[in-house]
């Protein structure tokens, strides 16, 4: 098992390296010149010396591979470069905002799993029942409306009609709403996958054996069908993690939450390459870590894999 995980870790590290290089190359191709924008923003004299000094200070005068290697060695040591816009170290800016984004992503993912399991279970217990129909409706709904549009409607209902929340304010109510909205889509997807997994297990001979031994349907489902169905849920978590991070970005904009995506949007008008680069890496790391956790859990669930 250690060997498998080691191999997987090596593969992920190689993947992250490749992603970081591709991102670095594409971001460096950016048509707009950050130096010109900085000179305009800071009202600097646009002399050749200023331009040269800025370019040198940001390392833009060196060839791309050299810059990449320098960036990479710095990144590993915790120096993520300096923001072109604020002049602050990018890592500090990220560390200030990361907890919020991480909280948003993690709690949505956990909430989605916590809601999807009972919903999917109830749906599998009684096909065509209320829970089954509700989860199907939910999945149709969440797939055709983006979370931020649902959020706008909710703000209208809760903020304008019922006056329960203060709209567009960065407070606990907004955060809760954001978590719920992001979780809604994943709940729908995961509950359908879970239900499908349970239904597939119910046709297996070992399930019928369990029933014949006198287990109730509910107990047999939980004891015997749940592990294999949960395995399918774990496999789907990786793609859901990607979805969560994307919807969380829209939520940060909608509710004005100061997370990393909001920071990215503020930085992009200054063509802040370092921030964009760090953002891509942080997202890739998030995907890798969620993938690792899901993999560890499924190894526990299915020892034959190791």
């Amino acid at each position: 098992m250690v060997k498998r995980l080691g191999g997987w870790g090596l593969q992920t590290a190689a993947g992250l390296l490749a992603v970081s290089f591709v991102a670095f190359a594409i971001i460096a191709l950016m048509p707009a010149d950050p130096v010109a924008i900085a000179i305009r923003n800071w009202n600097l004299p646009a002399t050749d010396e200023t331009v040269a000094a800025l370019r040198h200070g940001w390392g833009l005068d060196r060839p791309l591979p050299v810059r990449y290697v320098q960036w990479l060695s710095g990144f590993v040591q915790g120096d993520w470069g300096r923001s072109f816009r604020t002049g602050e170290p990018v890592r500090l800016e990220f560390m200030k905002r990361l907890p919020l984004s991480l909280f948003l992503g993690l709690s949505s993912l956990c909430l989605a799993i916590a809601l999807a399991l009972p919903l999917g279970f109830a749906a599998a217990l009684k096909p065509g029942g209320i829970a089954d129909r509700f989860s199907r409706l939910l999945s149709v709904f969440t797939q055709s409306t983006p979370a931020f549009a649902t959020g706008l409607v909710l703000i209208w209902v809760l903020g304008a009609q019922l006056r329960w929340i203060r709209p567009f304010s960065n407070d606990g109510a907004s955060l809760t709403l954001a978590v719920m909205l992001v979780a809604l889509h994943s709940t729908a997807v995961l509950s359908r996958i879970y239900r499908q997994g349970l239904a597939a297990a119910m046709g297996q001979p070992w399930f019928i054996t369990a029933r014949a031994k006198g287990f109730s349907e509910r107990r047999a489902l939980w004891r015997h069908a749940h592990p294999s169905a949960f395995y399918a849920v774990l496999a789907a978590i990786h793609s859901e993690a990607g979805w969560v991070i994307g919807s969380a970005a829209a939520m940060e904009i909608l509710f004005g939450l100061p997370g990393i995506s909001q920071f990215l949007v503020q930085s992009i008008s200054a063509r802040d390459q370092m921030v964009l680069q760090a953002y891509v890496i942080v997202v890739a790391l998030w995907m890798a870590i969620v993938g690792l956790v899901a993999r560890l859990l499924s190894l526990r669930l299915e020892p034959r894999l190791s």
Binding site: V265, V280, V283
Partner: protein, 251 residues
Amino acid sequence: MRRALAPLLLLTLLFACGLWQPWDPDAVNVLARHAAPDIAHPLGTDHLGRDLLSRLMAGGFRTGIVILAVGLLGLTGGALLGTLAAVLGGWREKLILKASQLFIMVPTLIVALTAAAVFGLSPFSAGVALGLAAIGPLALFAHMLTKRVLCQPFIMAADAIGVSSGTMLFRHLLPNTLPTLLTYVGNQSGASAIAYASLAFIGLGADPSLPDWGGMLFEYRMFLFDNPMLIAWPALALGATVFVFNRTFDR
């Protein structure tokens, strides 16, 4: 292929919307701000007196471009690479699969977000970015599907009677994989309309006054209390479009 009729009609409608609008979608008329719906402005006007219906139609055209680009790019690129990987085998299969797995390390929306940040957000750039990002998962899917068909007895039988590789590909392999792939692509391109709306909503320095459905939702969110219909129409248009795609290409 009968069931693809509704999305095709919808796509045609969206493109037709780009050709003609009752008003110039960007024409500001401060005398007619927040006008109630009437015959001249069937859906009313926004805070700058721009005709909402015209803006919706222009936004539909832009969404249509994204859907089409993602569909075409994803289908050709993903199906081609995945099928090639399965048919060729060996190190080339490994290479294609590894490259595709690289694509799913960064979520589609984040790839498109980066592209929008670097090259600016337009229906074309977003369509290309989302389409390219869709190639990875689709190639993996196509590979899996093709592998499954390849170990069917009828392929072995065809191989045994010595059919040429072209016949094998177009007579025996693709007819079996293409319908499933098309369903997957249709579903993906419907979802790309949502991704594009999210990108426009997030903004990224793009001009928020452009008539994108997502951008309209962002721009009009401040008038949620005075004129909620400004939010309702773009949301409805987006939801209906994606719904048609999802229903048709339900997996």
